[in-house]
Symmetry: C2
Subunit: 220 residues, 2 copies
Amino acid sequence: MEIPVVRNVLEANDRMAARLRDEFKRCGVLTLNLISSPGSGKTSLLERTLRDLGTEFRMAVIEGDPQTDNDARRVAATGAVAVQINTDGGCHLDSNMILAALENLELEQLDILFIENVGNLVCPVEFDCGEDAKIALLSVTEGDDKPEKYPQLFRLAKALILNKTDLLPYVDFDVESAARGACTLNPDLAIFQISCRDGHGLENWYAWLREAVRLKKADA
Amino acid sequence: MEIPVVRNVLEANDRMAARLRDEFKRCGVLTLNLISSPGSGKTSLLERTLRDLGTEFRMAVIEGDPQTDNDARRVAATGAVAVQINTDGGCHLDSNMILAALENLELEQLDILFIENVGNLVCPVEFDCGEDAKIALLSVTEGDDKPEKYPQLFRLAKALILNKTDLLPYVDFDVESAARGACTLNPDLAIFQISCRDGHGLENWYAWLREAVRLKKADA
């Protein structure tokens, strides 16, 4: 007697992610999965981006947190559409959660869909959500050794945002060393040094976003 | 035909954790499981503690990281015994890993065993490692909303260390709000505001450690 067992949760997730990816492509919506430690500034980056590019692009955000709708409320305050997923203690978002969240969004009306994953440098990396790119964030207060210690995210991301550069004078963080660690894992990684507090470097990130949206529309 | 399946990884872990706890009790070694986001300062706290209390207590550290032995080398530089566990991408330590690490330690010769878990506010909380207490760390750069968003750690920890207080002038972090959020979840939580950089507040943490060691010895 053969017992059917779903042996691989990741395989099931990958199948659903492929369906989501097809749908994002059909609608021409650039989908970015933001991954970092808790408190690296994912929500702050979204608040700045949604405000600064709000007249240029139609954007929405899916927020993942173990508890609270704090982040969705912060994002909604910018005027953008925000959907909160509470994982109830879970450590990552997966494709099924994204599928459920999409019921509250009109993909055809969007240029960019941001997925703000649960704050966690490890688990979210394993679960494809159908995104075009994973975006890694690292705050300069976390230490320049993080790419080396948590390599998988930096290997798979298309862009790395080094956030909170305004704090560089007060911490021991060697930007060159962090960038070297990340580029050793991923030579094609785009790296942006920014401060969501004083706005430093955001224009480079916005230029990257514009080009990514253009390519997505061309591919739709 | 009945198919035996270990349905609950956590149950198996809990059984092993109970065995470890018995062994720690027999040896009278206080065991503390340090849990936080990546880069909150767990290793820095250990470096300070091992140096400042090195003549007072016999201490060892089990270091958990997805990759590298950076942290074990930092700890060993203080003169303490350090054992590195690489989880090879895994998001938490579990009791089996601790059991394996103990082969490199002489528990009878120790007063305190520190377990520095993988940097992750979510998954390590689920896996009992036989410790006497979970110690939560939160850096003031991570935001004062973290207890509310990631409640489980703050609910279960015996102490919360608010680290990097030297950066308070440069960030938006309301100490009262973070403490209130944590105490709402866990009214018995001991909270220490410290800076591993300038040494502020460490004496209060050391006093807590001394009392915990005393109680452990009395209970052995």
